[in-house]
């Protein structure tokens, strides 16, 4: 299954679920919910962290965290 970490800059996806409960609690609070559209914006020069657009704002997170968000 694809995760947010695998999106290319500009590409969009719909959040399906989370693979890590602890991290998911923080992501949920930040508005990353199952069914929400996320768009990969850009990647930091060293490949990590990344910046995604979700529910109208920019959120940065590391690749490890992005990999816990699966897409449908």
């Amino acid at each position: 299954m694809r995760s947010v970490a695998q999106l290319n800059p500009g590409e969009k996806g719909i959040v399906n679920n989370f693979t890590n409960e602890y991290i998911s609690l923080k992501l949920l609070e930040m508005g990353v919910l199952p069914g929400t559209e996320v768009q990969m914006r850009f990647v930091a020069p060293l490949g990590c962290p990344i910046c995604i657009r979700v529910s109208g704002y920019d959120l940065s997170l590391r690749l490890e965290e992005a990999a816990t968000i699966t897409l449908s």
């Binding site: 199952p34 914006r41 060293l46 109208g56």
Partner: protein
């Protein structure tokens, strides 16, 4: 006329404009105190409207009522401790209008606590420019609350907020999200035990049992037992609650917000981000910003520091001349005034540092620096967010360590706090300056690069390397089963609000003077006592000893006085201490005189210069650097017959000062921030050991 008073708490997401509204409400009537039980700065202020005084608490920014970092922990504490004297009568939730959905999550949680709550929308202009139209009446109806709008830049709407706060606002008893669906059994039990009347507060007692500071251990055990009994699953409930809340919010928002335009703000942001996080320009711009910061801290602050230095020296001699002579005057002139001067002299640097940091944070650039640096910092066991404390450490470790609070991960935060004092703070600069002038030749490489300047730069670099390699070491040693993560909002770029910048500078400088000042002053007085008193005849009859030794000197001459004070210092308690540590520091090339300076440096490192001046009896114009230098140059090592201040001793001393933990105030702040003596003690032992080993190697290799 009796004044009524109300307590108001401000709550909101980070970057929602909470600080601007707090500043607009209270102006300069602000003070920084402590939250009881935790060592968090509590920023509060007052405003007066009609005959009511409102006490406003600015709570740390948070995305939800569930705490992650130390900052966030206090939010629910303040909002639920009904016994506290400043328990809020009214809550103002500040929400960023351009990002309503996420901001309303926090609002819905706060509203469920049942206190009278007002919703204030900020940044409505940004929202409108992004093509969002918000129906404020619909928002009021759907969310069952009073809605006000405030423009954080112009202050428009602030008087409406003030008058609304004076009116009767009722809290809603109806829950936004009915928490009883999750765990119906435990809520009535907790409500009865603690005399609570709100379901959501009771539910949060169960969710946040261990982070609550005002519960006793027995009470915590009681809740923990009940949680097991009723099968209370913290995380699962929290997940369901958050998802359900968002569902309701999204559904309601379809009737409130209409989107008309493309996202213009977002595209503008995206363009700036492309440059500022570019793989070449991004780092280039960051280094230019850093360079400007260093320049300002050192070059721009210098004239002010010189004035302060001069002013306190004048004040000291004034006190000596005009106050009746005696022990008390000596204490004022030689202990208290220089001690105060040692605090005040750092104000220009601290003010400039906070000016820069406030501008970088207000504009949204700091979040990008954190974003750029995270991967590099992570390699060394730090976090992108460690960048701010490390940069601040160049001015002073005290505010720098306090800046580590917003790091959520305990391990990353402890490592950051632990290594920040390695960064060469401004108190080391005077020590470096005099030692470099003494032992490094004033030559130029290739005609342009000053060797002395390079030496100074290397010392800063050494401090930085000391910090990151110690972090690496701690990363390997600290075995913590803790998931660290990095999930951070990248706020939109905005022009800084200058009022906020000024108030930050003012309040941070004030906190520094009063918090660090107390400790520095106390230690200065203790050191003065140690250096001014001594046991036995050698101390009491110093004049006699000197006139016996130098019969040709007139007792009225300044040289005589200088020799007497040097003799007194040698036989004072401080001198005895210096001599007693001489065997330990001899391998580093130091004698008892330097030993005294090392001991007195614990008050503040720059005291080194003053102490050395006294020991080598430079006399009353100790401020004149050239005199100290000449005296030090003339000093002969009794064992080798060579000049005492050789390159070996100079380098050894510089390395020692670069690494050693010689700052009581920093240790006190580390204790305050970590709430344990373990970390400051470890820091003291570790940093002193590193300093000793490097100084030893340098001296033994170079001598």
């Amino acid at each position: 006329m009796s004044n009524a008073s109300i307590n108001v708490a401000l709550v909101g997401n980070p970057n929602a404009g909470k600080t601007s509204i707090f500043n607009l409400l209270t102006g300069m009537n602000q003070k920084v105190g402590n939250f009881p039980g935790v060592t968090m700065d509590k920023v509060s202020g007052t405003f007066r409207a009609k005959d009511t005084i409102a006490n406003v608490i600015d709570l740390p920014g948070t995305y939800s009522i569930y705490p992650r970092s130390m900052d966030e922990r206090v939010v629910f504490d303040v909002l639920s401790d009904q016994q506290a004297h400043d328990f809020p009568d009214k809550i103002v939730v500040i929400a960023d209008a351009s990002n309503l959905e996420r901001n309303l999550l926090l609002f819905s949680e706060i509203q469920d606590l049942g206190l009278p709550t007002v919703l204030v929308l900020s940044m409505l202009d940004v929202a409108n420019r992004s093509g969002l139209n918000i129906d404020l009446r619909a928002l009021e109806e759907e969310f069952n609350t009073t809605v006000l709008t405030i423009n954080g830049r112009t202050g428009e709407g602030i008087s409406e907020l003030k008058s609304t706060l004076l009116e009767d606002i009722s809290g809603t008893s109806e829950l936004f999200y009915n928490i009883n669906e999750l765990s119906p059994e435990i809520i009535p039990v907790i409500k009865e035990k603690f005399g609570l009347d709100n379901d959501y507060v009771a539910y949060q007692y169960a969710q946040q049992t261990y982070s609550k500071t005002f519960l006793t251990n027995d009470e915590k055990h009681f809740i923990a037992d009940k949680k097991v009994e009723y099968n209370f699953c913290d995380r699962q409930f929290q997940t369901t609650e958050t998802v359900e809340r968002y569902k309701i919010i999204r559904e309601k928002l379809t009737r409130i917000v209409t989107k008309t335009d493309i996202e213009t703000t977002a595209t503008r942001n995206h363009k700036i981000d492309k440059i500022l996080t570019h793989k070449i320009y991004g780092y280039l711009i960051f280094f230019v910003v850093l360079f400007a910061l260093f320049q300002s801290i050192f070059a721009w602050a210098e004239p002010f520091m010189d004035y302060i230095d001069f002013g306190f020296a004048k004040l000291s001699s004034w006190a000596k001349t005009y106050l009746p002579s005696g022990v008390f005057t000596d204490l004022i002139a030689e202990g208290i005034i220089p001690g105060l001067g040692g605090v005040v002299i750092f104000i220009p640097q601290i003010a400039l540092l906070f000016c820069f940091i406030a501008i970088l944070e207000e504009s949204g650039y700091m979040a990008r620096v954190v974003f750029l640096m995270d991967k590099i910092m992570r390699k060394f066991g730090l976090n992108g967010k460690s960048v701010v404390p490390l940069i601040s450490g160049v001015a002073c470790a005290i505010p720098a360590i306090m800046a580590a609070r917003n790091i959520e991960s305990w391990k990353d935060r402890i490592i950051t706090i632990f290594v920040t004092p390695f960064m060469s703070c401004s108190a080391r600069l005077p020590v470096y300056a005099i030692l470099i002038a003494l032992v490094i030749p004033n030559d130029y490489l290739f005609g342009i690069l000053s060797v002395q300047g390079l030496a100074l730069m290397s010392l800063y670099l050494i401090g930085f390397l000391g910090a990151i390699f110690s972090a690496l070491l701690m990363k390997k040693i600290l075995k913590v089963k803790e998931q660290s993560y990095f999930i951070m909002e990248l706020p939109i770029y905005r022009w800084p609000k200058w009022k906020n910048v000024w108030i930050t500078i003012f309040s941070k400088s004030k906190t520094f003077v009063f918090e660090a000042g107390k400790i520095i002053l106390a230690i200065s007085i203790i050191l003065w006592v140690l250096a001014s008193y001594g046991p036995g005849e050698n101390f009491d009859k110093a004049e006699q000893f000197i006139s016996n030794e130098y019969p040709q000197l007139s007792q009225a001459s300044p040289e005589f006085d200088d020799l007497v004070s040097a003799h007194k210092l040698e036989h004072s308690y401080a001198g005895i201490l210096g001599k007693s540590i001489e065997p330990a520091i001899k391998p580093l090339g130091y004698d008892w005189k330097i030993g005294i300076a090392l001991i007195t440096s614990f008050a503040a490192r720059e005291v080194f210069v003053g102490t050395i001046a006294t020991i080598y009896s430079v006399g009353s114009d100790a401020e004149d650097e050239s005199t100290i230098k000449d005296k030090l140059r003339a000093e002969i090592n009794p064992y080798t017959g060579q000049p005492m201040y050789s390159i070996a001793l100079g380098v050894s001393l510089m390395l020692f000062y670069a690494f050693a933990m010689q700052c009581m105030s920093t240790l006190a702040v580390v204790y305050r921030e970590t709430k344990s003596w373990k970390w400051p003690i470890l820091q003291l032992v570790y940093m002193s050991a590193v300093a000793y080993i490097f100084a030893l190697i340098a001296y033994q290799l170079l001598k």
